[in-house]
Symmetry: C2
Subunit: 504 residues, 2 copies
Amino acid sequence: MQPRTKQLYTNYTTLLQKAADINYASAVLGWDQEIYMPVKGAEYRSRQLATLASQAHELLTSDSYGTLLASLSSADGLTVREQCNVAKSLEDYAKAKMLPSAFVEELSKQTSLTFNAWVEARKMNDFSLFAGPLTNMIALKKQQAALYGYVEQPYDALLDDYEKGATVKMLDQVFAGIKEELPPILGKIKSAQQVGNDCFKQHFPKQQQWNFSIEVLTAMGFDFEAGRQDYSEHPFTTSFAPTDVRITTRVDEGNFASMLWSCIHEGGHGLYEQGLPEDQYGLPLGAATSLGIHESQSRLWENNVGRSAGFWSFFYPRLQKRFPGPLANVTAQDFIKAANKVEPSLIRTEADEVTYHFHVLIRYEIEKELITGQLSTSDLPARWNDLYAYYLGVRPKDDKTGVLQDVHWSHGMFGYFPTYTLGSFYAAQFFQQMQKDIPDLDNKIATGDLYPLLEWLRSSVHQYGRQYNSEELCKRITGQGLDPRFFIAYAKQKYGQVYGISEW
Amino acid sequence: MQPRTKQLYTNYTTLLQKAADINYASAVLGWDQEIYMPVKGAEYRSRQLATLASQAHELLTSDSYGTLLASLSSADGLTVREQCNVAKSLEDYAKAKMLPSAFVEELSKQTSLTFNAWVEARKMNDFSLFAGPLTNMIALKKQQAALYGYVEQPYDALLDDYEKGATVKMLDQVFAGIKEELPPILGKIKSAQQVGNDCFKQHFPKQQQWNFSIEVLTAMGFDFEAGRQDYSEHPFTTSFAPTDVRITTRVDEGNFASMLWSCIHEGGHGLYEQGLPEDQYGLPLGAATSLGIHESQSRLWENNVGRSAGFWSFFYPRLQKRFPGPLANVTAQDFIKAANKVEPSLIRTEADEVTYHFHVLIRYEIEKELITGQLSTSDLPARWNDLYAYYLGVRPKDDKTGVLQDVHWSHGMFGYFPTYTLGSFYAAQFFQQMQKDIPDLDNKIATGDLYPLLEWLRSSVHQYGRQYNSEELCKRITGQGLDPRFFIAYAKQKYGQVYGISEW
């Protein structure tokens, strides 16, 4: 590298890493806020977070940074990975500059208002308290889409914030697969002999649940010297560096499933964060590539691994030892069936692997309609309820178990939901590839040897950070872009076994 | 206020509060670092803290801030409290500008080196590993004193960082009182019938200790909606706003004293932080006035209140109920005696209220000698041991229980130790005044009614923030500056009772 290029690149990393320091500091404050902060601390915590955000934003939108990036993008002598960092940073910079700071401020204020209205509306079980602020939020999101610009649809511009490169065109195709393939699968499952999951709904003491969660996370390869688990109301993962990744879980003593799936799920997110390359700290190549890929990691561990027969052939005897009371008369086979029970329901976060995607589909369709203006907020609850009745055969009795259940829209996160489904589908496609790549994978899992699986994820996904976007990564790994048929095949195989369905 | 002045003052508060946001964010990171951070998180946490520090420093030393302060200091129409904020900020600004950033950086690097050397030296129980880095640190502290400037002694300039206005002249006078008055008191106690403290050294289960700590803190008035307690290896207090104050405690199941005194002590610090005026957030009047006054709050609660007969006449029956096993045959009187046992020892943090001040005196004398150059680091351990033998009649057998016991010097904190003694002395003087001001105070304490006591501290000390420095505050409250005789009188009264000494 030429001395001048070298100096420019050093200036670039210095600035980005400084911004990362500030953003990771925000993450620490956010983590504490969710888990430990006393109630009266909220007001000042908000302003501290706002100040940190503006300090980082200032660095990342400064003209001097823009000049630096311009010089670097035409400089000679950068490695491929360095060039990639610079290119991604240029994209980020251009995008950040598209939103005037007055708009960012207005959006931030509207987010507070809309979130507070959502909390209140939810408490009162009354969507009408949320409708006005949500309407204002949607207006701002339309404005944001216009500021970003788009080729085909305003919604594309919003999607890009959560899943770079995703478009309505691509998602419509993905969801077309769901609309065509999943209903008959669900239909067959419904007419088969039903399985029970009462074994989860017994008394499982908190401390023993915690101990089992640590055992599972350790087996997954989560490094407790580079992270920790805490309790929180809503499980989440956050990172302060690849060497300090925090996951949380919740424990319901009357329902073992609550801790179990959230722990493995967040563990999957946590492993991605721990696997990001440390030498790229603060740079694009040191960050996760997209929400969809992040979700592929959590769901691969939770569903493809954690709900598999192999996984429990190793862990079930261990689990039984910890809970001899509740599990004495539950066979491993019954436990696995319970873990894979399919049942249409009203609440997304409690849904099984099949019906889950209808929950996402409903939100996706509604978001598109809200952003185009086809649907007004006043008609939203009715539309919601109709779609639930149509796709899942269940109709919410009130707003709380219907349209008010998710926090996302109150935060203005339009375009986020589809990443959940993308995650499942990428997971199925990756897992199938992994089974090809790792000889004897199923047996390894069945003996508790999860290390080869983690190594595969490290070398196929984690190590690259943002070097490849979701679709590029998928092509590198599996030789083709996202194809929902992998998920459909996986579902048929699994539920064929669970429900004794031999022909689909 | 004139519109222009008003605008200037608003700009001033905006800037200071932004810096406060960043510094409080650092405090959150520091809190997590001590309590929850996994071991591998240390490296990136350091750099995140360094970045936040430099962001705040940049704001607080910017030329535009200097100009703003200059305009405000000559502006008309500010209230007395506003003027006071501006005046204190001018002092802070001038002081911050005295250290060139190259020097600050060097000091920060040397601090890391010296701290690491101290950790290693302590582990190896070998002062020689610490001597070199400490010598370099002392050289930098001399340089710092020269940069700050001073009238009489370089050490005065360093003291000012921890206790504004304190000087060698003033401290020599304070410690002269100790050197004259305390040895005969200690002598009489030594020749009296000794008291035992074995009652503390039984098995006290962790959770019950914790529960008792919450009971005591609640009675003290600590607001758990505006703060919390956690476990940590070394108890400490930190604040993220007056509405979010964190204290920590440690529990030794084999020694109840460890949790008990640290909990009440940190509770006292925490109450000061919770009592600071919220409307002065980020401004000088929203911050504690000095380390000495902070320590007066913790020590007043810990010693003057927490080790008093009245306090335990209320709490001891409650304590006995929680620990019926260990305390069944311990009378309240024996318990109070145990809480006030005096015994010369090697470790400062475990010392009683009388011998404690010799520990501080020894460090104070050594610091003065190191800064003047009278004492070289190579002679330091011998000097330390000789002073322990001289003042306390005990001689450390090794460096770990001697010169390497405290972290302060490794952090370059020369001038910090005296504030511990100042804290005790201010506490004694304040408490005597409080007894005059609150009719029937002792009886109130004896019935567990600690609220009047807290209210007195709130209105006499907490509400002012930095409006008055230590000595000004002391004069306002007690009508005179610090006078060690209040402490001596308090000690004679207390130990007269504990040791049955009727004549001093």
